[in-house]
Amino acid sequence: MTEETKPFEPVIIGFTCNWCSYRAADMAGIARMKYAPNVRLTRLMCSGRLDPTFVFKAFAGGADAVLISGCHPGDCHYVNQNYKAMRRYHLMKRVLVQMGIEPGRLKLLWASAAEGQIFANEINKFVEEVRALGPLNWNADRRPQIADHVLLSVVNGQPAEAEVKA
């Protein structure tokens, strides 16, 4: 590590649907709203297309966090497929915890095509959260230990701040 003075820049893979959240990203661009350059987006037609494999592939491939974004509940271009994304999101969190990955590295964000500002703000917030978690490290000896209450909160489906013991 030669660049210890520089803050850690996480790499985040984002999945957006074609209709709301990708357009929110476009909208943020058109309005020249500035946000952190850490997220790389992959466009899906619908957040319901999000196969959990994609998320695990991203983590396995070196991403420090994954963002899933879709239309607001009730606003899905495909009627209600975003609810399926929401269900999978909660299941994925459980699996991540079992793999020793902090649940805070996976985020679900609803953004309509008009919500470029929300999209930009939430990305900034998420980047800071992941920065605080540090790099995702797959070496067994440095695998993060997740506190029992965080584990429980994920299994019970309630949000909780991820706490990591070094």
């Binding site: 991403a63 497929q81 999978r88």
Partner: protein, 684 residues
């Protein structure tokens, strides 16, 4: 997870088979100002050779004809089999580059447009980070594109009929354009008559044509047109299908009048004993009967019985209308009727609602009798209105000697609506002229800015100044009846800071007219949802592109016209109605429509017949064959969301255009640099 994931292991060999061209757009300085495009292009050319990149270029404007020719030349000369363009959002120019590839003989779906403008150059300031991100995005695109398959669009027939929702001037214009071209139109209107807000107006600015005189002939044309089916007093309940083939369920509310027998003679409303305050057409200033047509020139001419106020429906007796109707057209047993119509395209022209001036409590509307809204004034001034066109105070007889017109009520105000309602300045000038002409009163206009940008509008403003209308620049703080001196007794006092002279003024007047702004229909969000299109936070429906595609929406086959898209005046609404009609006529003439070939297919031999996908599909596009015990996707109904692809436990469904291979490779591509970096640090 699907079976085709296995193939991604062979990515490298598969990739090397393809010859990929990478094109990085400068977009003038839009991209090049932040992203080092030369570096990205060079990097892709040197580091993505394994992935199949044989050409990598950057160019000032890839979307220009020269830029497109560059790609076409490379396809022909270098034998490219895949193209990646890194430029703006695919929602803007995906078609452009696909067509360019098609022109050079390459299947258009073998081209991938990745966004380094909206999602990179425009949103980041750190040039190094933005350039790194651009490399990752390009690398993702290259990794993805090698797994693209040549696709052909699916052609489906387009139904020649069009549904128009909203019978205001925009809807009327659109209906006439399409019907005159010889195609059927269903015009749905919630109210008993078509005409919309324009039917309520007295004069129209800046020419001062009588609104009814120019609107009525158009309404009559609609009523008589053999190609137009009017469905008034009706509302859309459900929309099924897709572009070219919509099935729309409409609720025709019971009129309690048999339209085939009614002659519109008017005996029923003459004899009806029940007077009701008309808060819609007469803006609360006049009365109508319980059986009524909203106005004399209503189209269709048949009245409706308002079952909330009708004495028969309330008390169970009366039936005066039935007794006197010469053609026995009254039918109290009528029920709402649900009908379904098949159409190929839909235009939404549902219009606007007037801002509720009560919300600005300091202007006293609803509390101070002689404060009027703009719509009330239209009816006051209209010779067919409740006062016969006499501009009088709320007592119904006193002519005002001085009148204040307040601009921007509920508009350009962060407490209410931030936007400019665009018509209020001209409307206020028109009011000033009418008051001046009809009463000779002194007229004050209180404005923030005068906005008169269209043809002959500013000339009208100049004319008003010459006519002696007084203009006070300043946002009115308060309208009050609390007099401070004898001169103010019995008057309404307008408290305002005159910003041109820098002084507070109190101006006593007899009448105040609030030029209230335009708001989206109260149910516009529900309408947007019903038709599957998007709606801004304000509630205006969103067009496909704010400049280049103002009447289409993101949903194919659904168009918007008039104020449903945003505040606008009559000429603009008419133009949009005609524009939407022209777009649809173009589609109908093609007789069939190409659907994006992005859809799911089930591999029969892998399908276990579990039927999980059957219930997942929001469009019921998946059929189950009992005999073979396998499911099948109907390609015309499938919209390509891909939920079934993800849900299939056997991996038997593949999603064209967004296959597992494509997405997994893209993720790998996006992380190529990251992985390299991680490896380096691990070695170190």
């Amino acid at each position: 997870m699907s079976a085709d994931e296995n193939k991604s292991n062979t990515k490298k060999t598969a990739g090397a088979k393809e010859r990929v061209g990478v094109y990085i757009c400068h977009c003038g300085s839009n991209i090049a100002g932040v992203v080092n495009v030369g570096e990205v292009s060079k990097w892709a050319g040197e580091n993505l050779i394994d992935q199949g990149v044989v050409v990598s270029r950057d160019y000032k404007f890839m979307c220009s004809s020269l830029g497109q020719e560059l790609i076409q030349k490379d396809i022909k000369e270098q034998g490219l089999t895949r193209v990646v363009v890194a430029a703006c959002s695919p929602h803007l120019h995906e078609k452009t580059f696909r067509n360019a590839c098609k022109g050079a003989g390459l299947n258009p779906y073998l081209c991938e447009l990745v966004s380094i403008r909206e999602q990179d150059a425009w949103v980041h300031t750190d040039k190094v980070a933005a350039t790194e991100k651009a490399k990752a995005i390009v690398s993702g695109g290259v990794a993805r594109v090698v797994h693209h398959e040549p696709l052909e669009p699916l052609y489906v027939p387009i139904h020649p009929a069009t549904l128009i929702v909203g019978g205001g001037i925009a809807g009327i214009q659109a209906a006439l354009e399409i019907a005159d071209a010889g195609f059927p139109v269903y015009l749905v209107e919630r109210e008993p008559s078509i005409g919309g807000h324009m039917a309520q107006f007295d004069k129209t600015f800046p020419t001062l044509d009588c609104s009814a005189c120019i609107l009525t002939p158009k309404m009559v044309d609609v009523g008589n047109h053999p190609n137009i089916t009017m469905l008034t007093y009706s509302e859309v309940q459900k929309v099924d299908g897709y572009v070219g083939n919509f099935a729309v369920t409409i609720n025709k509310r019971a009129r309690y009048v048999k339209t085939k027998d009614c002659t519109g003679c008017g005996v029923c409303w003459e004899k009806c004993p029940k007077k009701v305050i008309d808060d819609k057409f007469e803006a609360g200033l006049g009365y109508r009967k319980a059986v009524y047509t909203p106005f004399p020139q209503a189209v269709p001419k048949y009245p409706v019985i308002d079952d909330i106020n009708c004495t028969y429906f309330v008390k169970g007796t009366c039936k005066a209308c039935e007794k006197f109707c010469p053609t026995k057209a009254i039918d109290f047993t009528q029920k709402d009727e649900i009908i379904t119509v098949e159409v190929g395209n839909i235009i939404l022209a549902t219009g606007w609602d007037l801002f509720d001036a009560r919300r600005v409590t300091n202007y006293g509307y609803g509390r101070l009798a002689n404060v009027f809204t703009s719509m009330e004034f239209e009816r006051l001034s209209n010779s067919a209105g409740p006062t016969g066109g006499n501009i009088v105070l709320r007592d119904g007889k006193t002519t005002p000697k001085s009148v204040a017109i307040v601009h921007c009520v509920g508009s350009r105000d962060k407490n209410y609506n931030n936007y400019c309602s665009s018509i209020c300045c001209m409307q206020s000038l028109k009011f000033a002229h009418l008051v001046h002409e009809k009463t000779g009163a002194t007229v004050y206009n209180f404005y923030i800015d005068i906005r008169t940008p269209a043809k002959a509008y500013d000339e009208f403003y100049q004319r008003l100044i010459e006519e002696g209308t007084l203009f006070v620049r300043g946002k009115v703080a308060e309208v009050t009846d609390a007099a401070r001196n004898p001169g103010e007794e019995g008057k309404l006092i307008v408290q305002v800071e005159d910003t041109l002279i820098g002084q507070q003024r109190r101006i006593p007047v007899d009448m105040v007219i609030l030029s209230a702004g335009l708001e989206p229909r109260y149910d516009s969000k529900a309408v947007a949802k019903l038709f599957g299109i998007s709606c801004s936070a304000d509630g205006w429906l969103i067009e496909r592109h704010p400049k280049l595609d103002p009447v289409a929406t993101m949903t194919d086959g659904i168009y918007i016209a008039g104020c449903v898209q945003g505040p606008k005046d009559i000429p603009a609404s008419v133009a949009q109605g005609a524009a939407a009609a022209a777009r649809i006529l173009g589609k109908i003439q093609q007789k069939e429509i190409a659907l994006e070939p992005i859809r799911a297919t089930i591999h029969e031999e892998q399908c276990s017949g579990c039927r999980i996908c059957n219930t997942m599909c929001p469009f019921t596009a998946i059929l189950f064959h009992e005999d073979k015990m396998v499911s099948e996707v109907n390609p015309a109904l499938c919209q390509g969301c891909g939920t079934c692809v993800t849900a299939c436990p056997a991996g038997a469904i593949s999603g064209t255009g967004f296959s597992n291979e494509q997405i997994l490779s893209q993720i790998e591509g996006l992380l190529l640099l990251t992985l390299d970096k991680k490896k380096e640090t691990a070695v170190a």
